[in-house]
């Protein structure tokens, strides 16, 4: 399988936008390519770097408000046209949380100020005072997709725009319309950390294939076992996910829970 070629992954703002373990998405793309005999080439694109000419897949993660504000201008002004050009040229894209918000039309702050986004996704985000935090599972065309959401912005999709999926448990885009994320051609936006791709390999492989088919239209990826990935979905299939204790330990569990109310590490 060696020498099957390579896949180039452009990682936008790894320093500023990578707060919640989103690096896992890049690791998953690279590793699943490597397991198929493809050489992964990860290109980090920071604020002052030029956008590479050829990219198969682009990834942009989430960051703190301040960091996000800092890169917003770079993204819309400096990198914006090139990014749009790579997408039009057939590159796949995944944007998580803050990155997802930056690729919508605009972000409206609590004070009503509008911060323009790149408009790759037909959606707008409004700031809110209540954060949506917790486990999130979504029904999608890639099957069940799971992760963890943590955002105060509420994103509303334009009419007829395809969401990444429909919320099964959790809040999703805005906690109101049961949508989560967005799909537009080969570009996906989502609020899911977890990290998203290592836990949801069908989506990872789809991004790899979409990105690679630009150069290799007939390429296929042989299946992998995905046992560990599937096991990470287990906690979502029980009423009290991940809080299971065998009966003889329940007292100890209560004790620990009591201790934890007063104890922070």
């Amino acid at each position: 399988m060696a020498g099957r070629g390579h896949v180039t992954i452009g990682w936008l703002y790894p320093a500023a936008l990578s707060t919640y373990g989103d690096r896992g998405n890049v690791l998953a793309l690279a590793q699943r390519a490597r397991w198929r005999g493809l050489e992964p080439r990860v290109v980090k694109i920071d604020q002052y770097d030029p956008m590479p000419e050829t990219l198969d897949i682009m990834f942009i993660g989430g960051g703190q408000d301040k960091a996000q504000a800092q890169v917003a201008h770079t993204l819309t002004d400096t990198h914006g046209p090139a990014l749009r050009d790579r997408i039009d040229g057939g590159a796949a894209l995944l944007a998580i949380c803050g990155g997802y918000q930056l690729l919508c039309h605009e972000y409206v702050t609590l004070g009503g100020e509008s911060i323009p986004g790149l408009g790759i996704f037909d959606a707008v985000t409004r700031a809110s005072r209540v954060r949506l935090v917790g486990d999130l599972s979504v029904r999608t065309r890639w099957g069940e997709v799971v992760g963890f959401e943590n955002h105060s912005g509420r994103t509303y999709l334009g009419a007829g725009v395809e969401p990444m999926g429909w919320v099964a448990t959790g809040q999703g885009n805005n906690g109101e319309d049961e949508t989560e994320g967005v799909v537009c051609g080969r570009a996906v936006g989502s609020y899911l950390h977890g990290a998203l791709l290592p836990r949801n390999p069908e989506l990872t492989d789809w991004l790899l294939l979409e990105g690679l088919r630009r150069r290799q239209p007939t390429i296929e990826l042989e299946p992998l076992t995905n046992d560990w990935e599937r096991a990470t979905h287990e906690p979502f299939h029980h009423v009290h996910p991940a809080r299971r204790q065998s009966p003889h330990r329940s007292q100890a569990a209560q004790r620990r829970a009591a201790a934890q109310t007063s104890t922070r590490p």
């Binding site: 301040k66 963890f148 096991a231 990470t232 007063s262 104890t263 590490p265």
Partner: protein, 473 residues
Amino acid sequence: MVSRNGYPIDARLGLAVAGARCVSGLSRVLGVGGGTAAPGHLASRVDPQALEKLAGRLEQGAVLVAGTNGKTTTARILADILAADGRHVVHNRAGANLVEGILATLTADAPTRGRLGPSIAVLETDEGALPEVLTRVSPTLVVLTNLFRDQLDRFSEVDMILAAWRRALENLSTETTLVVNADDPSLVALTDGLEARRVLFGIEESLYQLDEVPHAAEVISCLRCARPFSYRSIYLGHLGDWRCEHCGTSRPPLDVAGRDVELWSYDFQSLKVTGAGTDTRFEVGLPGLYNSYNVVAAIAAGRTLGVPGAVAKTSLSHYRGAFGRAERVVYRGRSLMIMLVKNPVGCNEVLRTISGVDRAFASPMLLCLNDQASDGRDVSWIWDVDYEQLASSPTDLYCAGTRWADMCNRLYYAGVQPERIHPLGADLGLAVDSFAAALPEKGSGFILPTYSAMLAIRHDLSRRDHLAAFWSE
């Protein structure tokens, strides 16, 4: 009218303290664990001013220790040093570090005049609770250790913590001294231009440096020009001798510095602390450069509070690690080293410490990942830890805890050979048994648990008499 303990009689406070002590005694008798918040809840119900009043009775006031990593160890070292100096130290040693837990600590050991030396409190304080505790307790000294990404499901953002801390710190007067880690640029910016006096500590060291700021670290940009800092030396995460090439802002001169660090083993290091009238070499039973910071912080605070260097040196040489933070347990003839991991930077440091002594990670490891509130419900942080360094080691890796599958998956994507990844399930008692059974006779292994997993493992082992009883320390 003056009461038996020498203070004016305050019936409400007396009732609050007595009630809290009853609750605390009852919970111990009933075996529902120590360090609970219940006594504090009751005391604040009976007397909403109980915290202010009890803190006001401390002859030498209160010391608060806050930060993401190292606050438990720093507070413990400082409490030991002060006790060795003849003070009567009130200390939340069991780690109850929210407002109610701190109040419970003060009610349990309410100062009595004229006994046991002058009273002083050393209070480890949770990041979220710090603003309220600062305002209500009016501390004489505050130690700020560092600020890393941790439990973002609870705090949302490091920036939000900084903003809340700044508001509270601005109200402090010149009566308060801040002992601040100067190697953390965000803490320096946070404490710039305050009324309170500032003592800066840090590390000045050439042997143990990193090549670059690891991915797990917070990228701190210059407040003036928003560009990332460059470093003359990086010691840990984003901590080091930092400088902005653009505007020239740099780490201020250190008042107290740790130098010539020698990391010998998992439970021993030696370092020199200079400045503030000290130039002493300390030897202490703690591993890793992250503990060097804790030692320097505690020494700097101790000096500020007037503890002679010789007293601190003796006290440190007797220091025993806080539970689960670098604790060796012999179980079924196997030597198990328990090292708490709470966040990406802390976990990377533990791995660095292990690799520094146990070349090429030769000993098996049990990685315990829980997602209780005290661990952080979001386990995404494991993707910021550099587990990739385990891929080339030949040893077996075991995964347990409520999120054992995520841990296995993380190792799988780190490139660890699948046959070396062993899932042991959510039950940590069973997991430790299986792990010990898999080690050779008289062999040794590492256990890296998250916070609630560490408590569960310790509890389990203590029931089998392999450790001092829960919360007994």
